[in-house]
Amino acid sequence: MSGYNFAYLDEQTKRMIRRAILKALAIPGYQVPFASREMPMPYGWGTGGVQVSAAVLTPEDRFKVIDQGADDTTNAVSIRRFFERTAGIATTTATRDATVIQTRHRIPEEPLREGQILVYQVPIPEPLRFLEPRESETRKMHSLAEYGLMHVKLYEDISRHGHIATTYAYPVKVEERYVMDPSPIPKFDNPKLSDCAAIQLFGAGREQRIYALPPYTTVASLDFDDHPFDPSRADHPCGLCGSVETYLDEVIMDDAGGRMFVCSDTDHCETRQNAGYRGKDAG
């Protein structure tokens, strides 16, 4: 892929995206429109996140990509390779070593630190879309902070299931102002959005929106007084590292229906195992 500019995008496009990012950081939770570019990959592969990463990466960065918590899925590997080739940057699977982390569907278990940037791939940035399809109306609702509709969605959940059944893309309110879709992360990760030391950037390619949380932003998950937000977690320790604090994936072990629960964050799980922690299913 020689002949491309650093990180694929031309400098003018990167400047345009950076301006959108700066505006997004200045108005936490507000969706900033940007002119999304064609990228050499399908939209479903996170072109919004890729463009944001391309705009913030520098030659000194160390880049990590996770997909559902894992570094080794096709999606994660392709994006990591894309930037290895187009930017020649170093990559890593270790959360603590990475300076820029692009993610789909998870926030790393290890607390992020100042200086790190977490880039989310966002399919649908508009949290109000579910009940109000008109873009003109959702824009007005955001500008006037008319968010009763978000609670209608949660009300419907409780009336149907007895509890708030939304488990992914659980809506949040940023600094008591903008309601934001945190992308399809599990609600388990929602508390990590708040008061985070890292910069959090959200890129939606097809929908052409960027939004952001600057470090140490207060982010609250929407709920009712009598149905408070619950970042529930499967009631098992990790089978490999024994952690009782992480988000777990259920893995089918064999044809006999054997299954185990393991950390979805593979780097975190391996780091713990290397430090000597063992779960009941560890070999």
Binding site: L144, G148, V152, Y155, S159, F224
Partner: protein, 256 residues
């Protein structure tokens, strides 16, 4: 007594076509005003200007707000006007689907305005929804059903419940019984009359159906070609019409 609503010089045109022209009237607390006329008479344009859905070319709509007394809703800020629209005002559309969220349960429809003004207690919201379903004669057992499963009359009653749950003082109604069977209309009119009385509501009802205003309206305005040609107490206007056009309307010569 301060009028709840004082309308002055309300004018709105569409290019060369006149919507309504120089309409003025006062509405007092607890009073129901009927506006009748043929389609194209400007009555719907007038209603939408009054309710803030259309911006008038000229005129003012002075509303006696709870917090700050009489205010011109035409010139107040949009957030204030929208807040008024979902708290102290209500708007009942002819087509229930225009006034309901068809993909949301009956309870969610009734609860939306409560949530919009900050109620964050599910049990409390649900209690209000059950109470209001009862008041509009919908079985509380239907609270989790979507309005698409309701009959036309039930949908219209649900729309009314959704609008009245915040205890508004002023209700705008656009042909509230239009499109319903006659027997369903009668039941809805009885219900509306009871609610207006019990809650002391003020209302502005636009309709082409003289039976509706006969039953609900204290006063009547007759519109033709964007202008009010006659107004007065409902019984007086209907029993002793002065304007030639009103006489035609009342004699049912006009198919309105």
């Amino acid at each position: 007594m301060t009028p709840l609503l004082s309308v002055q010089g309300m004018t709105r045109s569409y290019g060369n076509h006149l919507g309504c022209s120089d309409v003025s009237f006062d509405l007092y607390p607890g009073e129901v005003m009927g506006i009748v006329g043929e389609s194209g008479s400007g009555k719907s344009t007038l209603l939408n200007c009054l309710a803030g859905h259309l911006t008038p070319d000229a005129g003012s709509v002075i509303y006696d707000t709870r917090g700050h007394g009489p205010r011109d809703t035409v010139t107040m800020s949009e957030p204030e006007r929208r807040m008024l629209g979902r708290t102290d005002w209500a708007f009942v559309h002819q087509r229930a689907s225009d006034g309901l969220r068809m993909g949301v349960s009956a309870g969610g429809n009734v609860g939306e305005r409560l949530m919009a003004i900050g109620n964050r207690h599910y049990g409390d919201i649900r209690g209000h929804a059950i109470d209001w379903l009862d008041r509009v004669e919908i079985d509380a057992g239907r609270i989790d059903d979507r309005p698409v499963t309701f009959s036309g009359g039930m949908q219209q009653r649900l729309q009314i419940a959704r609008n009245l749950v915040t205890g508004p003082r002023l209700v705008f109604m656009d042909e509230p019984t239009g499109g319903l069977d006659v027997s369903v209309q009668a039941r809805l009119l009885d219900l509306l009359r009871g609610l207006v009385r019990d809650m002391g509501l003020s209302a502005i009802i636009v309709t082409h159906d003289l039976a509706v205003v006969r039953l609900l309206a204290d006063r009547l305005m007759v519109m033709k070609s964007g202008r009010v040609v006659e107004h007065g107490l409902t019984d007086r206007v209907l029993d002793d019409p002065q304007h030639a056009y009103t006489q035609l309307l009342v004699s049912s010569v006009l198919q309105v």
